[in-house]
């Protein structure tokens, strides 16, 4: 294993192998199909029950049914609710006819312009957000203590027995996912239930999800399934369906947790074009590699020299 530019940016086929696991299970991930999300928040609760997370306070946010607000140290799943006009469908009946049928002026009177005439033009989107477990994870790359690491499953996990709360990872995440807990200052985020994976269990959120909006499995399989799902939705006239985070050519080398969205990512509070902040670390390594290796070798020889005494 050599250190290469691919270790920091661009497509990377074997993310676990790159992290030093010579024999390892398939890379796993989440495919969150928001087109079947019912916004029940079972994922949020199942995550907290399993991971024994504290509550996040009791604040009514007034943002539709979202009272979690965002992913945080204590909320590793977050369901966003978006109330918006729906895109026009070919099958939708012409609404002008209704206006005529009403036989009434549709101006000034409160409510006058809002009978049933725009009902089919409205929709309510729901989406369960989570750590993306990036192929190139900024949080991991900037962590100075080794608290963040890549697991054999290709996921990214904060080790709370190592983390010293420096907070570099918080700014290292292009999605704004990782967060420090106020009381102990350490960084916390989704582990994709690392402890469960080792025992062959699926993550708590995916297991609970009533409609299978959150699907867990080998990433390659999920990507294939997701592409088929998009095709099906397109066939049914849901032309706005698109995948987010599944492309290995994107700024983070593709996400381990990717999404099927029904609108632009920004609508869901997701960055449209995330880029790992350490994208150039690979070329920096190339320049600094020799010096670094020499330095390290010296350090080790000193260490061993001492040990032997």
């Amino acid at each position: 294993m050599t250190v290469s530019r691919e270790s920091f940016y661009g497509p990377l086929d074997d993310v676990s192998g790159d992290a030093g696991y010579t024999e390892h299970p398939e890379r796993v991930g989440f495919f969150t199909d928001t087109s079947v999300c019912i916004g029940c928040k079972a994922c949020e609760v199942a995550c907290k029950e399993w991971n024994l997370l504290p509550d996040d306070g009791f604040d009514l946010l007034g943002m539709s049914f979202d009272n979690t607000g965002e992913l945080s140290a204590n909320s590793w799943r977050h369901v966003a609710f978006i109330e918006q006009p729906a895109p026009p469908r070919e099958s939708a009946p012409a609404r002008e006819a209704d206006a005529v049928d009403l036989g009434l002026p549709s101006f000034d009177l409160p409510g006058a312009g809002t009978g049933e005439e725009t009902r089919t033009d409205f929709r309510w989107l729901m989406s369960s957000d989570v750590c993306k477990h990036c192929t190139h994870a900024g949080c991991l790359d900037v962590c100075p203590t080794g608290a963040l690491f890549r697991t054999e499953f290709g996921t990214v996990v904060v080790q709370d027995d190592i983390c010293n709360g420096c907070g570099y990872c918080v700014s290292g995440c292009p999605y704004g996912v990782i967060d420090r807990r106020e009381d102990d200052g350490r960084a916390w985020k989704c582990t994709m239930c690392y402890d469960r994976l080792g025992d062959g269990l699926e993550p708590a959120c995916a297991k609970a999800c009533p409609t299978d909006s959150i699907q867990f499995g080998p990433l390659d399989e999920l990507r294939e399934r997701a592409r088929e799902r998009v095709a099906t939705l397109h066939d049914r006239g849901i032309t706005e369906a698109r995948l987010y985070g599944e492309d290995p050519n994107d700024g983070v080398g593709g996400d381990g947790a990717f999404f099927l969205l029904l609108d632009e990512p920004e609508v869901y509070g997701l960055p449209p074009d995330p880029v790992v902040p350490t994208r150039d670390a690979g070329s920096m390594w190339a320049r600094a590699g020799v010096a670094a290796a020499a330095f390290a070798a010296t350090a080790v020889s000193v260490f061993f020299g001492r040990s032997r005494r």
């Binding site: 079972a42 209704d98 409510g111």
Partner: protein
């Protein structure tokens, strides 16, 4: 309709999503755009309380366009049966049916009977209504004296056949009328009609889902009747993928109806005896017809077996199996009547067993004032709920209506064991019993209800052991010898033993029974709930069957046990055609195997196993043997599904649109405004907001409706105490449309308060496009929605939404109308303390509310006696001309 399945039953909703993925179309017809609407192919909003107008429109659409599944309808429903000449429809009586008594507000159903069917014994309708008569007839459905020999017209042309009566009754439910009443555009309405009818027939079935959005109305049973009529006309009953599916809201609410903790029922839908029943024979004769068809004819077997389980060896043939030990009802003893009796000082002790009426029942103030006027109150719950602490945290403390120092009610709080700390069965919403194993022991004083009731009974019996008082005999003779587990004075009773005795035992052999068909009336069988007989068939607890779904077919008969007889689709004989062949290969479920001479299929056939399709009973036959081979509805007195209900529904043989008790709208279809048979209680402590034709309704101009959120559970006792749920919905809010917000000056997240003549309730404002004003008959009507999970206790608290509601009941079920009322909404918080009482009084003054308001239920411009006397009666008033035209036409046909 009337269901928010994705939010209230999320895990059940996976099957809707699965069906949708396979190409099913999902329509959500509901006042509010919910998480269910978000996932549906189409959401059709309608005014809360207008569902029957909508459903009537669908029925009219089906009948006017010959879209019914005629072969199914003719063979399996009572469409061809002739109704007696005395019957007069709402068409001719301005919204009333014949037999109405304006003095008592009840119907005498004798004019609704079939021709040639023996009329019922003279019906004491007042008493019928008082006793929740729909259930008075038990699971067998209403009685008919004879199931055979009913006059029919197979051409369905006779003007008095059910099919034609139906056609005429719903003829004025036009798309235009649906638009004016419900606020649903003609296009949307017709799209629903098209989708529903095209998804039904030989090759297809459509399922109808409802919940308490339908039941909690002053005519809730008729909402469901209307849905059932559509499903029957389209051939969607008894077939896979069809049905009328009631999604119930509590883990064992089905079980607590089957094995009722309800005043008017004994286990297995046997009615509670009333004061008219001198003896058991009287009782049995009154609940089933001598010559009626089907399994309800065997009611004597069921009641005797129950009495044998209750009183064991003390129940003998000589003493009428101690039928005289059963207490008698003679009116309404429902929970709302009882609460008023508490206020009136007639009730002394009250048990609350896992229920929180201070928050969860309609008219919370009435509930709390009732509790404050008891000798004692017992609360058993997992946690400290509002009903246990009303004496120190009721809203009435602030207004001075309750003060601890002056409240005499003694309160006992007993901590309860949770679902994992006890074993036993829940019956879920598809009638399936599932056994829970005990995971661990409860802590401290936490105990199961089984323990509590068993030992309370034991202590009571001990205290009375030497009593010679006749009234104590039922308790002292009670079979209270259940097996226990553990030592000491207070061992845990065995739920397994209780279930065995519910299943039933052959007393001559001691063997467990395999089926309710083994029950007898000669005292040799004992069974606690006849419909549950078979759950322990072969000595095996089938409720504990847990064969993985991957190891059986999709009917999954080896998972749990569904009553009756583990049948998963009720009346599944109807999944085959009259000749016993599946209607189609796609939709096959149960069929006749001529070679083996029996019914077979994927499900357990819900039909006498060897009765062939072509079988015809002799005239005058009775019981299961009287079922013809094409009588799939084996619990019905005539073997057929009832489009028209000649008895058993006290507020009309056909669903009819009436306005809710409180409504901003006049009834556009009839002069009769609200249900003429609804139960009203005109009391100072139960005021109603005015509704047309009463004036003053404009003080409460908005339609109010309330419901659940996914994140909470009913009155909050199992969710507001949990941080993980409370943080997801931390505060009470009220949803309003942007238009209403503008009209009333409401800002998102600011405080507002909702007002009725009963209460004012604070809530945070959620302005949302999901709430949509409706245009109704040329005017804009706003709807206001609130979740009802909050109260003064818990990690998150808030005002009690149920305080806004009054008590007005469906006369069939005695269930309150809590899904619709009228209200006002104002920005800012409500007044506190005494000022609140003055504020409400001022609202009532402005609206002209008195004790009389809403109690004059008859507004039709004709009466039943008028119509019975003259055949050309027409209704004056706004709908008069319409009525005249229809009435005249039909009279001519009659002649």
């Amino acid at each position: 309709m009337g269901s928010n399945m994705a939010e209230a039953h999320p895990v059940g909703f996976q099957w809707v999503m699965e069906a949708k993925a396979r190409g099913a179309k999902v329509l959500h017809i509901d006042p509010r755009f919910t998480r269910t609407s978000a996932l549906a192919d189409k959401h059709v909003p309608l005014r809360a309380g207008s569902d029957i107008a909508f459903l009537g429109g669908v029925i009219n659409h089906i009948l006017s366009n010959d879209l019914d599944f005629r072969e199914y309808v003719r063979a399996y429903t009572n469409a061809s049966f002739l109704v007696g000449e005395e019957f007069v429809d709402t068409e001719d009586l301005d919204g009333l049916f014949s037999g109405y008594d304006p003095e008592t507000g009840t119907y005498d159903t004798s004019t609704w009977q079939y021709e040639n069917g023996f009329p019922e014994d003279s019906v004491e309708s007042e008493r019928h209504r008082e006793q929740s008569a729909g259930e008075q007839h038990g699971s067998g459905g209403p009685k008919l004296e004879s199931g055979t020999g009913i006059a029919t017209d197979q051409t369905l042309e006779h003007p008095r056949c059910v099919f034609q009566i139906l056609k005429r009754h719903f003829s004025r439910y036009t798309p235009e009328m649906v638009e004016r009443i419900c606020g649903v555009s003609r296009e949307d309405f017709l799209e629903v009609c098209r989708a529903w009818t095209s998804a039904s027939g030989r090759e297809h079935t459509a399922a109808l889902v409802y919940s308490v959005g339908w039941t909690q109305h002053s005519m809730g049973a008729q909402y469901i009747r209307a849905g059932a009529i559509i499903q029957l006309l389209l051939g969607n009953i008894g077939r896979p993928g069809g049905g009328v599916l009631a999604l119930r809201g509590h883990a064992s609410i089905q079980g607590s109806t089957d094995i009722p903790t309800l005043y008017n029922l004994l286990p297995g839908y046997l009615p509670m005896p009333d004061a008219r029943h001198a003896d058991k024979r009287d009782y049995v004769e009154s609940i089933r017809g001598t010559h009626q068809k089907g399994y309800w004819h065997n009611a004597d077997d069921y009641i005797v077996s129950l009495l044998k389980e209750y009183w064991g060896e003390a129940a003998t043939e000589e003493n009428d199996y101690r039928f005289d030990y059963l207490p008698r009802i003679d009116g309404d003893h429902g929970t709302y009547r009882t609460v008023m009796d508490m206020i009136d000082g007639k009730v002394f002790g009250y048990f609350l067993l896992g229920q929180n009426p201070a928050v969860g029942s309609a008219h919370g103030r009435l509930q709390r004032l009732g509790m404050a006027n008891l000798d004692w109150l017992v609360v058993r719950d997992l946690t400290m709920i509002e009903s246990a602490e009303f004496w120190r945290n009721a809203p009435e403390i602030e207004t001075g209506e309750i003060t601890a120092e002056q409240c005499r009610t003694e309160v006992f709080f007993f901590p309860a064991a949770s679902h994992v700390e006890k074993e036993g069965t829940f019956t879920q919403t598809q009638r399936m019993l599932q056994w829970r194993d005990r995971a661990l022991e409860p802590r401290g004083d936490q105990r199961s209800e089984l323990w509590f009731i068993y030992h309370l009974g034991r202590i009571l019996r001990r205290k009375l052991a030497t009593s010679t008082d006749e009234r104590d005999r039922p308790l002292l003779d009670l079979a209270w010898d259940y097996r226990t587990e553990g030592d000491g004075e207070f061992p845990e009773p065995s739920a397994d033993d209780v279930l065995r005795r519910i299943n039933g035992v052959d007393l001559t052999t001691g063997e467990l029974l395999d089926s309710y068909q083994q029950l007898t009336s000669d005292g040799t069988t004992a069974a606690g709930c006849w419909i549950y007989s078979g759950v322990y068939a072969g000595g095996v607890n089938h409720a504990r069957n847990r064969t993985a779904r991957t190891e059986q077919d999709e009917t999954a008969l080896e998972w749990g046990w569904a009553w009756p007889a583990n049948r998963r689709v009720l009346y599944n004989r109807a999944s085959a055609d009259p000749q016993g062949r599946p209607w189609s290969e796609r939709k096959k479920l149960v069929w006749w195997d001529a070679e083996r001479g029996e019914w077979t299929g994927h499900d357990v056939p819900d039909f006498p196993k060897t009765t062939p399709p072509e079988f015809e009973p002799e005239y005058g036959e009775a019981g299961p043997g009287a079922l013809a081979g094409d009588d799939p509805f084996i619990m019905q007195a005539d073997g057929k599904a009832w489009l028209f209900a000649p008895s058993g529904v006290v507020d009309g043989p056909l669903p009819t649109h009436y306005e809710p008790h409180e409504s901003p709208m006049p009834n556009l279809l009839y002069g009769q405004q609200g249900s003429p048979a609804r139960k009203v209680y005109g009391r100072e402590d139960n005021p109603s907001n005015p509704a047309p034709p009463e004036g003053g309704g404009d003080v409460f101009p908005f339609v109010f409706t309330a419901a659940r959120l996914t994140e909470h559970h009913t009155a909050g006792g199992m969710s507001r105490q949990l941080a993980y749920l409370s943080e997801l919905q931390p505060a009470l809010f009220v949803e309003v449309s942007p238009q209403l917000a503008a009209e009333r000056g409401l800002e998102n997240l600011d405080w507002a308060h909702v007002v009725t003549s009963r209460a004012a309730v604070d809530a945070r404002v959620l302005v949302t496009e999901r709430m949509r004003p409706l245009r109704l008959d040329g005017r804009v009507v706003h709807q206001v929605w609130m979740p009802y999970h909050w109260g003064p206790s818990g990690k998150v608290d808030g005002d009690v939404v149920n305080d806004l509601l009054g008590v007005v009941l469906d006369p069939n079920t005695m269930i309150q109308e809590s899904k619709v009322a009228t209200c006002d909404i104002r920005p800012g918080r409500r007044p506190r303390g005494c000022e609140l009482l003055e504020y409400l009084a001022e609202y009532r003054r402005r609206a002209g509310v008195t004790v009389e308001t809403g109690t004059h239920v008859v507004t039709a411009h004709t009466t039943a006696s008028d119509a019975a006397a003259t055949s050309d009666t027409t209704a004056p008033g706004s709908t008069g001309s319409h009525t005249t035209a229809q009435g005249t036409t039909d009279r001519e046909e009659d002649a």
